[in-house]
Symmetry: C2
Subunit: 451 residues, 2 copies
């Protein structure tokens, strides 16, 4: 909250004492942002003004490249302290980004337990529950009383990511039940925890994709969910703060893929080269598709020459059909993304989309007829009837594709957002244009034969 | 988790005892979903199989229209029990949806405290912190010791939404500091809470928009945030489970507006009529814009007649330019949505987009030249140079509009997602076509003069 003050203070006029005070009394995330936006050469200086506790907290909020800079500028002892104090999931994330040599050196400096925790997490595939979990949770053995459990929790070091849930296991670490701190506080100390703990534990497997973990925690309003391995042994927990980030990331990915920005989320401040790399392939994809579409349109040049109003009608046609397709596509992909839809709903949704689509088709078809009547010179007015019919057909094709394409991909266990918006609009263009021009040239043909 | 079993069991074969067992041992959210998908006449029957505690929990997970059905089918005493036990924020949400007469009757049946809590929340505008907060939080007076605080927390009724944070106030309920249950547990009982509570409290005002509250809680990794009124008096808290829902809702709204689906989030299973109402206005908007665009294109019919390859080139042109515009627009709107961008960043982002845009412009321009060389008959090959140039220009216009339009709206404190994708593509089409056709017809004119 004090970020603005900090930003406008001290640094440039060299009053480091004031800056030190400010930085140590500001929220870590704000200090992290402040340090990140400093010129490169000032970042390490500012970081060294932090006291030990604040330094550890701030470090977790720095982007990977700034973390690496700081690591390179500090003494090994300081680095070791910070890395040791990080939570295992944050540490695993950092190690993912660092050069292998640096990671190896840092791993050696960790305490055996922390090294073990990091190795465990790094052993799971990226984007799974195992990778985003933390190993710092409260575990209780199943024979304890409530009083014993509470004093065990009180003796835990402060590192545990949440102490608000404790997980009860047997001798083999098999997850038996869960008990909340709230339940423990509201119960007499001599009661056995097994008498109050809930055995209906919602849990996830290490290999579950992170977005499914997030959906489960959202659905059941959980602050933390236990992660178990194939043998049902407890290996970690995923906490709500990670879930919030995962949900936002997934939403950003969906929204960007729909717009034709590929490969995960592009940050607004990504470099122009990253931006190009994420966007150009889609643009060339659109063009490539168009080569196909255009070779289908090219033979009709004669037709267009004879009825030039077509060149006025066709863009409207293409834009409106594309919009219908994207509307349906977006509602479907988002529904799949937030878990409101499953491939089992395909026909239910298709029916509803076709019902709404029929209304849309009639409305757009009639509008198209009116508009082309206005635009066309008298001898070309007959075109408007064809235009209206094709507009209506194209609308129905659009809602069908917008529903079936993502649903089909999901059923094949592929990412439904693979069919991005530009892809669908281009397909719709090609289909619509070819039908339209074929009909018109057929009509011309018949008409000329008659003339 | 047992939902599938429940679905396939009991109900149709009339084994209500088994169903009763199942429903009372299943997670409330799953039971809520099961009841919702039942035929109308069976919902109340299923609901009455729930024991009191489960009924209260399940009720909160039902959609508003099913809640209303249940209310109408139960005895007044049962309804009163359920409504009394709901958390005040959920209750306010329900009352929002119910007819005024029903709300009045229900309000009278509430206990004075619960009535007061509901009235407070309903007094704030929809979509603000005051409306999504709950009034069930733990408040401590500032003179207490840790031991006294803990036994006060133990005496709280189990209703409080979270007991993991306690808020310390003075006699006037002015928020002074916050202390976590964790801190209390880790401290000796005789210490004063004022000695360990943090006075750097992150708090929000009642009138803050809910999406800003969500962004703040996400930024600072909070499970709950206190809500204060203008006089800094504590009036409620917003908890993380609401934030997760708010963030998803906001993401859905952004994604749908970009696709031209208006008026908040359309559910996949909305009725076809709702679907039409949310989508048709955008389609007509697109068409309306096109009337403008087309009256600009219409005068060029002669030109198109003379150079029919234009009709092949123009759709490619339009689709590619539109895609570039939507890519930029999406990254900008999403950046604003998740709080990574502010209007202050406008020129920084515009510079970056133009740098990337220049690369895109060159790539697409050259491709356009090549493609139109292939498509055009020999006497029309000169068109390709114009097409390439206009393609490149249009790309730069696209990234500029995609950045400036949402940034400008945000600066004016309007919703940046008001400029949806279809709007931008249509604008780009109009601009591109007019430039293109003007250049071509000018060239034709000069060429013919020479000939």
């Amino acid at each position: 909250m004090l970020l603005e003050d900090v930003r406008n203070s001290a640094f440039d006029i060299g009053d480091l004492n004031q800056l030190k005070l400010d930085l140590n009394s500001t929220q870590p995330v704000d200090v992290g942002e402040y340090i990140t936006q400093l010129p490169k050469q000032d970042r390490a200086i500012a970081f060294r003004l932090l006291n030990k506790h604040q330094a550890i907290d701030v470090f977790e909020y720095l982007p990977a490249e700034v973390q690496e800079e700081i690591i390179n500028s500090l003494h090994d002892v300081q680095v070791a302290q910070i890395i040791e104090a990080m939570s295992p999931d944050e540490r695993a994330e950092l190690f993912d980004e660092l050069p292998a040599g640096v990671v190896k050196r840092l791993l050696q400096e960790l305490s055996p337990e922390e090294r073990q925790a990091t190795a465990t997490i790094l052993g799971y595939a990226e984007g799974t529950a195992g990778r985003v979990m933390t190993t710092e949770y409260v575990r209780l053995r199943d024979g304890l009383t409530v009083g014993e459990a509470l004093s065990k929790i009180r003796r835990q070091d402060e590192d545990k990511e949440t102490i608000y849930y404790a997980y009860v296991t047997d001798d083999n670490r098999t997850l038996m039940s869960v008990v909340s701190l709230r339940q423990l506080l509201f119960t007499f100390p001599e009661v056995l925890i097994t008498d109050i703990a809930s055995t209906r534990v919602i849990k996830v497997r290490t290999e579950m994709p992170q977005e499914e973990v997030a959906q489960i925690m959202k659905r059941y309003d959980l602050i933390a969910v236990p992660v178990v391995d194939r043998e049902e042994r407890l290996v970690g927990i995923v906490t709500i703060d990670d879930v919030v980030d995962i949900l936002e990331e997934e939403a950003t990915e969906d929204i960007q893929k729909l717009a034709g920005v590929s490969g995960g989320d592009e940050q607004p401040f990504s470099s122009p080269l990253v931006t190009l790399r994420k966007r150009l392939p889609w643009l060339f994809g659109v063009m490539l598709l168009y080569i196909g579409a255009s070779s289908a349109i090219a033979p009709f040049q004669e037709t267009i020459k004879m009825v030039p109003v077509l060149a006025v009608i066709m863009p409207l046609f293409s834009n409106t059909g594309g919009t219908v397709g994207i509307q349906t596509l977006t509602v479907t992909i988002r529904g799949l993304g937030v878990g409101e839809l499953t491939p089992q709903d395909t026909f239910k949704i298709l029916r509803k989309e076709l019902q709404a689509g029929l209304g849309t088709a009639v409305a757009l078809g009639l509008t198209m007829i009116m508009l082309s009547l206005i635009w066309a010179p008298p001898q070309e007015r007959w075109v408007s009837l064809v235009a209206g019919t094709v507009m209506a057909t194209n609308t129905l094709v659009a809602v069908t594709l917008g529903t079936l394409l993502p649903m089909g991909l999901k059923r094949l266990k592929l990412d439904p957002a693979l069919v991005s918006g530009p892809l669908v609009t281009t397909m719709l263009d090609a289909i619509g244009f070819v039908i339209f021009l074929t009909l018109i040239s057929t009509a011309l043909h018949i008409f000329h034969l008659k003339a």
